[in-house]
């Protein structure tokens, strides 16, 4: 096998050095019941060419060269070439978690810059080195709020990504942390603040809202924060479309921000790997889950970075850790770091403006279901046609239409969530508009 760098004579020599005569001696201690007595039922090893061929064949069975109007937590944004150039460098790709700071300064410095830019984007004081994704960052943020407040209830808006809420429920179910939900205004698509107020009580640890919310609407985060704070609860702000951060004013009232960075040069990859973040205020630093990189010096007084505050983490604290997270998404976070540095101050704003403009162009041809202000996604009704038929027609034109919402919101029957990004062309939007009005 081409990945095994030994000749048979070297193997024999090494076996002999160990006092063994044959390879079987290497596992002589295993109980017979554990041993396999027939070969694994897996096809014989394949050449590079055959492997590439197989994946090309499978790729051809997925949509290729389609225009897509899907968003809903995974966005079709341009990926600058150098994002892959950087993460393909073996020194980043094939290194381990940077516990040995002296030979990991590359990764550590990049993470420090990542943490800095997440703070700049979110307006928070501290950001960790990444979570698995947005969906798993949300329960981690909720558990943080529970530790900070000493309370046990979580109240999440129904306009938080439905799959994030599912992960939240699964994660908290057995920890004695009940999760309940509050609604949205049927006309505007904004948070139903009265519903929030009526469901908040003195046991609520966190109110979780998303902005732009699942319908693409820039929501009333500050109002929700005020209501939460009045009752002593924390506000957890979730984002799934990170590009919006380029134009949206950071929240004054949020206590914890949990989000998904897929939009920053991370390919959709059928749902992952992505990178999540948790950011918060300085005073909650000790409750942050996951890895943190800090600045320090080496023995010569040179600036250096290292993993720090690890007494929060599982490898030190075991059952008393803030989270069980160990491996996170370092390489994916590195893609986002490259993206953020390339686009920079001006690019992030222009990118957000283009997204806003494209979606508003599309919306001007359709009738958005909600009146709330939206970023690059909005909900549209079938306008007399079945959205299934509309999407079927579009698929025939190599266009993937919007996400039918009834699967997550039964009350939004025959509506779709449509997304337009800087990658969406005017002509494609015109085709979509036609399909709705046919």
């Amino acid at each position: 096998l081409r990945y095994l760098p030994k000749s048979d004579s070297e193997r024999q020599e090494m076996l002999a050095a160990c006092g063994f005569s044959r390879a079987e001696d290497l596992y002589r201690q295993l109980p017979d019941q554990a041993l396999i007595h027939q070969p694994l039922d897996i096809e014989p090893g394949k050449s590079e060419y055959e492997i590439i061929d197989y994946f090309r064949d499978q790729s051809a069975r997925n949509a290729n060269g389609y225009a897509s109007f899907l968003g809903a937590g995974v966005y079709n944004h341009y990926r600058p070439v150098i994002a892959d150039v950087v993460v393909s460098r073996g020194e980043f790709l094939t290194s381990y978690t940077p516990y040995q700071a002296e030979i990991s300064q590359g990764t550590l410095t990049a993470i420090f810059e990542f943490q800095t830019m997440i703070c700049q984007l979110t307006g928070m004081d501290v950001a960790n080195a990444s979570m698995y994704d947005g969906s798993t960052a949300v329960p981690e943020a909720a558990m943080m709020a529970v530790r900070i407040t000493g309370r046990n209830k979580i109240l999440a808006a129904r306009t938080v990504h439905p799959e994030y809420r599912e992960v939240l429920r699964t994660s908290l179910r057995y920890q004695g942390l009940p999760v309940s939900e509050f609604g949205y205004d049927a006309k505007s698509g904004l948070l139903d603040l009265a519903d929030l107020e009526s469901k908040l009580d003195d046991d609520t640890a966190a109110v979780i809202v998303q902005s732009p919310n699942f319908f693409g609407i820039v929501d009333q985060v500050e109002e929700a924060a005020r209501i939460a704070h009045k009752k002593g609860a924390l506000l957890v702000l979730v984002f799934a479309e990170a590009v919006a951060l380029g134009i949206l004013e950071p929240s004054e009232g949020a206590d914890i921000v949990a989000g998904e960075l897929q939009s920053f040069a991370i390919s959709p990859s059928y749902g992952g790997p992505f990178a999540g973040i948790i950011a918060t205020r300085d005073k909650h630093l000790r409750q942050v889950p996951g890895r943190l990189v800090g600045e320090t010096t080496d023995t010569h007084g040179n600036r250096a970075f290292c993993l720090t505050l690890s007494t929060r983490e599982q490898h030190i604290r075991r059952e008393k850790a803030t989270s069980n997270i160990c491996t996170n998404q370092a390489l994916i976070a590195l893609m986002a770091t490259v993206f953020l540095e390339l686009y920079g101050k001006a690019g992030l704003r222009e990118l957000a403006l283009q997204n806003l403009s494209k979606a508003h162009y599309l919306a001007s041809k359709l009738k958005p279901r909600f009146t709330g202000p939206f970023f690059n996604e909005f909900v549209a009704s079938g306008n007399g046609r079945s959205v299934g038929d509309i999407n079927e027609d579009l698929l025939g034109q190599k266009i993937i239409g919007g996400l039918p919402l009834a699967r997550f919101y039964p009350e939004l029957e025959n509506t779709v969530l449509l997304c337009a990004t800087e990658m969406t062309k005017r002509q494609e939007m015109d085709h979509v508009a036609e399909a709705f009005t046919k």
Partner: protein, 500 residues
């Protein structure tokens, strides 16, 4: 003598923020083909930010130099052996990177219709089948994002099954040799943790287990081979003890690289386990992720697996959400698909026999290290080892040299250190896992380095205590970093410049 490396020049590099100046750009967007919208009008002026304060403004060439320079400050598998125990730092084949970037693999949206996602689903199905063949278990979910996430999923499955039988029970047993993620996971699943002591061989104590397993015990979480690199010789009896009391055997698959093609957890009594794709199946560690943490189970746990599950309907794959006993989702969408692609490519390259041969080479390499280094380092447990070997610093400690010092000195010799001070049942542990992708030559260089360091520990211990000496960054002040945390760059606070 240091044979593997000599010093060379490395470039200095500032933080990107220190290279920024107003007006520089590293991007260009296509010109807008629709009317530009005024954000204040569209979103309300209060929602629109003036600017992203202190965000960098740099050009493309500065970005590429920045990261290329930073990259040269890292050690990596591509530079040499990475003997971290239980981390399985093996070669990451590049064809795996290529296939994950083919458009039809990298760009499918998770919500696009199943009819135009059949290739992605086929890849998932094929990986599921391979993992079942390898583990000897009955069903698998690929949704968990990493090992600890898989553990959490696996323990939730145990809990859901026990609950369906009327009592979720109270405790998870965790050996004192376990990874820290195990007890942390048990807590997150609502269990209390009972730590159990290893026997004189560092292994599960069957008699003690028989005494403590009662109907309050939900499961035992065991790493096999253990973190000592030793196969749990009584694993079958342990499983029987647990099963007789209605408890389950959870296997942490961190050390699965010792077993692939040789022994199947499903055959030795395991009910549920996670697999670390970024260890055993070579998906790149990437400086700390992404990973993949599939969870494989026996059939009695299958109804509780996370939704959705892949199903064959006619001649098409589809996602099945209709699983009333499921624990629900543990992650959005279907898992780290790009990692799954790489793991499948790895399995395809090896094939069934190749996987077994890789395992045998992993065992051979670890045994070779053991026999060559045993004259120089204390071996606290002498049971036969599998894919890794654990020494202690007992001999060197007499001169005041600890495992951490030996590790730091190893850096000067051109190697990444082994795992330091773990497992904690060995005082001053040196835990080494060479993996199968190291050549005899690389191993011999490592052995030479370790022997040379053992001599230095005798003759010039001070040299070890202040190592590394030859790196661009010398020993860093981790205590200072924790005492006064600086976790982000700020324009007014960062006084010092990069190393000069």
């Amino acid at each position: 003598m240091i044979r593997k490396v000599r010093q060379h020049i490395t470039q200095n590099e500032d933080l990107i923020f220190e290279r920024s100046s107003p007006g520089k750009i590293g991007y260009q967007l296509p010109s807008l083909d629709v009317p530009e919208v005024d954000p204040a009008k569209a979103l309300g002026a209060a929602h629109v930010r003036a600017e992203i304060e202190d965000a960098p403004e740099v050009s493309e060439v500065e970005v590429i130099r920045h990261f290329t320079r930073l990259s040269t400050w890292n050690y990596a598998i591509d530079l040499g052996m990475y003997p971290l125990g239980s981390c399985t730092m093996k070669y990451n084949p590049r064809v795996n990177e290529l296939v994950a970037r083919i458009e039809g693999m990298a760009w499918p949206h998770p919500y696009q219709p199943d009819s135009v996602s059949q290739g992605a689903m086929e890849v998932i199905a094929r990986l599921e089948q391979a993992l079942l063949a390898i583990t000897g278990l009955d069903a698998v979910t690929l949704q968990p994002a990493a090992g600890a996430h898989g553990e959490f999923t696996g323990i939730l499955l145990v809990r859901a099954l026990l609950e369906s039988r009327g009592n979720p029970r109270k405790r998870i047993l965790v050996p004192d040799s376990a990874h820290g993620t195990n007890p942390a996971t048990a807590m997150m699943a609502g269990y209390s943790v009972m730590n159990i002591k290893s026997n004189a061989k560092g292994l599960l104590d069957v008699e003690q287990l028989a005494k403590i397993v009662d109907d309050n015990v939900a499961a035992l979480m065991v790493t096999n081979p253990s973190t000592l690199g030793v196969f749990e010789e009584n694993i079958v009896q342990c499983a029987e003890i647990l099963h007789a009391k209605g408890a389950m055997l959870y296997m942490d698959g961190a050390n699965m690289n010792a077993l692939v093609g040789l022994a199947r957890p499903g055959d030795f009594g395991v009910d549920v386990m996670h697999i670390n794709l970024h260890k055993t199946f070579s998906t790149p560690h990437g400086g700390g992720g992404p990973g993949g943490g599939p969870v494989a189970v026996k059939s009695h746990l299958a109804p509780f697996l996370p939704i959705p599950r892949l199903a064959r309907v006619g001649d098409q794959w589809s996602w099945n959400y209709d699983l009333p006993q499921s624990i629900g989702r543990v992650r959005a969408f279907y898992g780290n698909f790009g990692v799954l692609v790489r793991a499948l490519a790895y399995i395809m390259a090896h094939g069934g026999n190749g996987l077994r041969n890789a395992t045998l080479d992993a065992l051979l390499n670890a045994n070779y290290l053991r026999y060559k280094l045993a004259p120089y380092f204390d071996l606290p447990y002498d049971s036969p080892n599998m894919h890794e070997v654990v020494f202690s610093d007992e001999r060197q400690a007499k001169k005041g040299v600890r495992t951490g010092d030996i590790a730091k000195r190893l850096i000067d010799y051109g190697f990444h250190p082994y795992t330091v001070s773990f497992p904690t049942i060995v005082h001053g542990a040196l835990m080494m896992e060479p993996t199968e992708t190291e050549s005899k030559r690389e191993l011999d260089l490592f052995i030479d380095a370790m022997i040379s360091i053992s001599k230095e520990a005798e003759d010039e211990p001070e040299k070890l205590k202040s190592a590394p000496h030859l790196t661009r960054t010398t020993r860093v002040d981790e205590t200072g970093a924790a005492r006064r945390p600086i976790l982000r760059w700020q324009p007014d606070k960062t006084a010092s410049k990069a190393a000069d």
